[in-house]
């Protein structure tokens, strides 16, 4: 980075906004690092790039921390060289910072839980992303997805007509599959027990997950609906660090549930969508909600436990392992329920090591799948995940996250692992016993 005293307008704005973004948690994390290096091996980027310190979490964190020190810390302000404090001056400085905070980190939070000091790098990395985004410095893919989410209400630019048309033909196919004219997807029904929100990827690339969810709701006899608008539970604000976008997107969905007077919002399997809607949206939007929110994983598990749907695990006759989405596991504590559900719906479950809150990122997290300029770097770092997958010997990797589905599919192809990627909803729907087609039943 340049040491020139002249500062670009963008750099000036970044510094002004930096001060406004700081809260006590963040300042604690910015101050507490002792450069012990214990976080180094926690990062999949480091493990896949041995000997390159620029991937080390503490190094990446220091690129943000040095700015903090230069402008807010006593020693850094007086003797910057002593603590490696440094400001940003030019647009080039911001571009270099962008390549680190977007390109070399998926905000997976694995370093955070491995830091002896409790430094939550992922949180202030996201804050730094937000600062750059506020001055228009971001990967192209992040800009496009954010624009779509602001303007069209979903991050993939799905038009209302396409959305409704897709739900319509999914409903038609479901009626045919079940031979039940009452099956289908109810739209905008008031006072339902469940309002179901999805990831636009399901409309665009994977409508079978919608069909599977609809089948499960129907078999469970659920009083449910999907909204015609405000249906996107994903939130690019999480990846871009833009709290305004995050709050607006979350509020759009909350408002829709309230408008429909739904009792519970069920969020389809998506790590960042679940985290954004369930755990972050209210904070970004500054709102409290009166209805319940849960992951569809929990909903499906409850249906089985309550006997509302019956399962034949022999229908899923391959070997399965489970990949924990970072957002689900490390930021929302959702790791036991998916395992419990998976072990009910299949007979050959093989644990992946390490797992749960210690699992490695699929390498597609933090919006990385939308940042094509960093794809080569991402796939190289995916070696760690690939080795993890391979060691399980499973034929199918199951995950509760659409982002992970894409990330895993990409790395499985790249490393020629020959594995299949599925979601729990696929397995539950496949194993669900439809009355007319009973082959075996659990006691």
């Amino acid at each position: 980075m340049s040491d020139s005293p002249a500062r670009s307008q963008k750099a000036q704005k970044v510094l002004e906004r930096f001060a406004k973004k700081l809260n006590r948690q963040m300042v604690g994390s910015l101050l507490a690092c002792v450069h012990c290096g214990m976080c180094t091996d926690a990062c999949h980027y480091v493990l896949a790039n041995p000997g390159d310190p620029t991937f080390a979490p503490a190094y990446k964190a220091d690129q943000v921390r040095r700015i903090f020190k230069r402008h807010f810390d006593w020693t850094g302000r007086v003797f910057p060289w002593w603590v490696k404090a440094k400001s940003v001056y030019s647009d080039d400085d911001l571009e270099q910072l962008k390549d680190i905070i977007f390109g070399k980190c998926t905000n997976c939070r694995r370093c955070s839980i491995n830091c002896p000091m409790g430094v939550d790098f992922a949180t202030f990395n996201r804050m730094a992303r937000g600062l750059l985004v506020s001055v228009g410095v971001m990967p192209e893919g992040v800009a496009v997805a954010s624009k779509d989410q602001w303007e069209l209400g979903n991050q993939m630019g799905v038009l209302r007509e396409d959305y409704l048309e897709t739900l319509d033909w999914v409903s038609e196919e479901l009626r045919q599959e079940l031979g039940d004219p009452n099956a289908g997807i109810p739209i905008d029904v008031m006072n339902c027990d469940v309002v179901y929100a999805i990831n636009p990827r399901e409309i665009k690339y994977d409508p079978r997950t919608i069909a599977d969810a609809a089948k499960i709701f129907h078999l469970a006899g659920e009083n449910w609906t999907m909204p015609s608008e405000g249906w996107d539970m994903t939130n690019f604000g999480l990846f871009s660090g833009d709290d305004d976008l995050g709050g607006a997107v979350a509020r759009r969905l909350y408002d829709k549930v309230e408008e429909l007077r739904g009792k519970k919002l069920v969020i389809s399997e998506c790590g960042h969508g679940y985290r954004s809607t369930r755990c972050e949206g209210q904070n970004w939007g500054g709102v409290d909600v009166d209805f319940e929110m849960e992951s569809s994983v929990i909903t499906m598990l409850c249906y089985i436990k309550e006997g509302r749907i019956r399962i034949d695990p022999f229908k899923n006759n391959k070997s399965y392992t489970y990949h924990d989405s970072c957002n689900n596991a490390r930021s929302c504590g959702l790791f036991e329920e998916p395992r419990e559900l998976l072990q009910i719906v299949c007979n050959d479950f093989r644990e992946m090591y390490p797992n749960r809150a210690e699992n490695y990122c699929c390498t597609g997290g933090g919006g990385a799948m939308s940042m094509s300029e960093y794809s080569a770097q991402r796939l190289k770092s995916a070696k760690i995940k690939a080795d993890q997958l391979k060691a399980t010997g499973a034929k199918v990797v199951v995950t509760s996250c659409h982002n992970c589905v894409d990330g895993l599919t990409d790395l499985i192809r790249y490393y020629k692992l020959g594995m299949e990627v599925m979601q729990l909803v696929n397995l539950v729907a496949n194993a669900a016993i439809v009355k007319e087609k009973v082959t075996a039943a659990l006691p």
Binding site: M38, T75, I113, Q282, E358
Partner: protein
Amino acid sequence: MSGLLHFSEHTLQEAALIFMAIVYTLRLRWLLRFKAGRERQAPTGLPETSKARGIIYSWANIAMPWAMESTRTKVFVYVQFVVFHLGVAASIALSFIIPYVPKLLELSFFVRIFQIIIGTAFLVGILRIIRRVKSVYLRAISAPDDYFSLALLTSWFFLAFLSVPNSTAGGEWHLIAFFLLTAFFLIYVPFSKISHYLYYPFARYYFGKTMGHRGVYPIKHFPEIRR
């Protein structure tokens, strides 16, 4: 006891302690001026997790090497950490024992224990300096303050080791040097990385609170690593 040694043990230490207390108070005031973030959402995760449990777990984390992969898989580094910080605690204690309860140092058992702890901490300090210089990762993240603080602490351990018997038979220089360095520490620490212990409770408190509320802390499963 010479006038210089008496001054170093008492007046200088007391002045340095007052200075440190003032600076720390200002530092804490500054930190508390930042607004604490609030989590509006209902808790997630298993019922045995909560904000309070997360905070306690987070604080206790440092004493549970099995709780983090980073400490679980680097046992030797963790042991070094423990010894180093025991050495710090013993040396701080020594800086109070010598001027205020010197009788304790007439017990040879007590002296031996202190010398073992501080002497081992000194060796760990040397190892840590070597590690910081040798590791490409640590070099990349180290600032002059990191090297200086570590070298200073290691030197302090050395002087503390010599000062434990509180004997002036061979001269006072080691005691004077120990107390001069202690005073320098008290003044320098708030401006260096060594002040991390002031921020540690904050960083861990908020991280534990967040992770507890989100159902991650306390972690129940410590997965075997089969890499």
